[in-house]
Symmetry: C2
Subunit: 173 residues, 2 copies
């Protein structure tokens, strides 16, 4: 029978690789999701080389995705005294993780849509033909709604954990 240590290794590997596959459904790449999973479950901060080694990936790939995760705010760079090397550690607080993902996805998914809709709305303003008016109306409802979702995202991502949970409980008991 397997000992706990072996079982844990297998379990972590499963988690990392599956989280990676999930990432691809999410529109982020496999490696990025795997690194995130790896560091969320690592007791220690890890260096680029350790990540490369652990996931059997190239330096370039590890580097690109570590930096991207830092951009998302899901990893922090830390250093150890007397060492030049940079280590990466994951944000572990789930509410923080959530806020950062919301913020990033809003930036990539909502804001550009809003820009497009605003443009189309403005360009079709004042059209007289039936087709023109219908288009303008549809743009208007889409624009209003997306603007609203955008605002909601900001509010939610701006809340501290306690506040958000309190609110959620009040709403949904």
């Amino acid at each position: 029978m397997k000992g706990e240590a072996e079982k844990l290794v297998v379990l972590k590997d499963t988690f990392v690789s599956q989280w990676g596959i999930m990432g691809t459904q999410w529109g982020i790449n496999r490696t990025m999701a795997q690194i995130h999973a790896l560091l969320m479950t690592s007791p220690e901060a890890m260096s680029t080389d350790e990540v490369m080694e652990e996931l059997s990936i190239s330096r370039g790939n590890a580097h690109t995705n570590l930096k991207e995760l830092v951009n998302w705010g899901l990893l922090r760079i830390v250093t150890r005294k007397g060492e030049r090397r940079e280590y990466f550690e994951a944000e572990l607080d789930v509410w923080e993780i959530f806020r950062r993902i919301v913020r990033e996805r809003k930036k990539r998914e909502i804001d550009p849509a809003l820009d497009l809709l605003e443009g189309c709305l403005a360009e079709s303003q004042g059209m007289k033909s039936a087709g023109g008016r219908a288009f303008n109306e549809q743009m208007k409802s889409l624009e209003e709604f997306v603007r609203f979702v955008s605002k909601m995202s900001d509010r939610v991502a701006g809340m501290p954990h306690g506040k958000a949970m309190q609110l959620a409980m009040k709403l949904f008991g």
Copy 2:
């Protein structure tokens, strides 16, 4: 100077092609997003052939993506009396569109993550080593939070428009 009709055609084309590009950021494919945009701004329901023609795409591609949009609930199939051919028309109500997207994304993005986390949580339950306990704790917070998000999605996607807006206003004035 261009007439309104010409300007509208250009504007619609821009909208359709840009919405398509946006789709790729969203993890849905370009054609699917373009068809959706096309039908949201079409005064009439369109047949597969008309969609093929308008977007210059193959029958197979048009077919696959029309069906996928129907699965998402973003298009409806309609028929005209005395005709065998199927036509597709878009759901135009923004709140309906939103609900359906939330539902679909929850299914693809949240549910599988929850399954994975539940599995890892169960497997690491009762581990005694420091590493095992740490892993179990992290899985627990992730699982709880994702479960919570899942529930919230269901609630929001289940609300009628009026209710949701009322709620939103109360929250965010």
